[in-house]
Amino acid sequence: MNPILECKSLTKKYGNTGALSNIDLTIQRGRIVGLLGPNGSGKSTLIKLANGLLTPTGGEILINGSYPGIETKKIVSYLPERTYLNDWMSVKEVIDFFKDFYSNFKPDKAYEMLERLAINPNDKLKTLSKGTKEKVQLILVMSREADLYLLDEPIGGVDPAARDYILNTIINNYNEKAAVVISTHLIADIESVLDDVVFLANGKVALTESVDEIREKQGKSIDGLFREVFKC
């Protein structure tokens, strides 16, 4: 089957500064992958490229075999590392918005998750706390039946209880047709949820391996290995 995400000699430069150089990467459906690396290693750049928010300077990036465009945006569900929703809308209005533009958006799922987290759909986004807004965004993203989920720091600014809920949502949402890519620096918390990890350093792939293999071969956790590889 087509890998859901493929990078072939992918390069992205800003002027003379390189953000990514010659990335070769394949991500298969049905895998939960951690995209790990220090700040500035190119994680966000890679995710933006997959979303068509940036264009490559060299090489190519393919989603389900196609270049990023309207067709890939239909099957990619993206959670950016920031609040990207119109503040004036209510939660319900945002759900209607998503329903309008994404045919694979499931409003029932969203309402169920909102109820579980005690978020009132009639509240205006403006009135919600930052943490709640982030939960709403995650709910919207996970309520789409996408083939590729790109989550940029999904558990960064959230309390531990919400963190557990988010990880459980990711697990419960799992299906063999879709892949989930989680970019984060909070490795210890999500290790047990990952199938594979990709370490990025200085815009290059430093390591691609399955979590179990690393633990078996290296006798340490991903978090431990990360600290070793990226020792300051």
Partner: protein
């Protein structure tokens, strides 16, 4: 998809404009009443209050037009190139559809603002004969145009209207193209946008000057000139329409290319 985008764009912006329009029309009614009262009464207090009311009315008109300009720029800048851009540009829509949505919405509000202002003026000066006198004035003007230029006044109005719309579209797209150019930079994006705007302005001025120079350099036989003098204003207006059509297309293409290939969201 364009329809859906437009729906949300109008919803987002209506929240600002509708209250303004409502208050303008309310003040127009109030002022109409005050004018009548003032005519019959010369109390100082009433004069002062009506003075304030008229001032408020003028203030709101100014506010409406400032907001129209501000919103036009801010919607493009904030909704497409700010944090919300992460949402708009990952929707399964073409980049062009996003641009056209903002353009149409901005134009719509400009036109509605003008209409509402005219409406408020009519309300203020309302008397029983007002509609008849407006129509009379219009046909008088139309006749004058016919006399001087030999073309139907209403045709002239129609062409002038189209020319104004086209000029509006060009101006708006020129702003968009400038903002799009500016956002390509990594720093000082706003400065870059201003710079681009000045550059585009300059280029357009130069082209207009060239056209004018060429036009006046064409040796026109005065006899022919006299015979066809009726069509000159016609030609000028059509010239304006085509000029703006061209630049509308150029600025649209620039904006679309930049945003599809050189998008640089923070």
């Amino acid at each position: 998809m364009l329809g859906k985008l437009l729906k949300y764009e109008v919803k987002s912006t209506a929240r600002i404009f509708l209250p303004l329009y409502a208050s303008l029309l309310i003040f127009a009614v109030i002022n109409n009443i005050f004018i009548r009262i003032n005519g019959e009464n010369n109390k100082l207090v009433i004069s002062i209050i009506s003075g304030i009311s008229i001032a408020a009315y003028v203030f709101i008109i100014i506010a409406i037009f400032v907001f129209t300009l501000f919103v036009m720029i801010q919607r493009f800048y904030k909704n497409l190139l700010g944090d919300e851009g992460y949402l708009m540009f990952t929707l399964p829509v073409k980049t062009g559809e996003n641009i056209i949505t903002k353009l149409l919405a901005s134009m719509m509000w400009v036109i509605i603002s003008v209409i509402v202002t005219l409406l408020s003026i009519i309300i203020i000066s309302y008397n029983d004969n007002i509609f008849i006198s407006i129509l009379n004035d219009l046909s008088k003007i139309s006749l004058e145009i016919n006399n001087v230029f030999g073309i139907s006044g209403y045709l002239f109005f129609a062409e002038a209207f189209i020319a104004i719309i086209m000029t509006l579209a060009t101006s708006i797209l020129m702003v968009y193209a400038s903002i799009a150019t500016g956002q390509m930079l990594n720093r000082h994006k706003l400065l870059g946008a201003f710079g681009a705007y000045l550059a585009f302005n300059m280029i357009m001025q130069i082209i207009v000057s060239i056209i004018v120079v060429i036009a006046s350099a064409i040796e026109l036989n005065t006899v022919i000139l006299m015979e066809y003098k009726n069509t000159i204003p016609h030609l000028i207006i059509i010239g304006i329409i085509f000029f703006n059509l061209t630049f509308t297309a150029i600025y649209y293409i620039i904006t679309n290319l930049i945003l599809s290939r050189r998008l640089n969201l923070e």
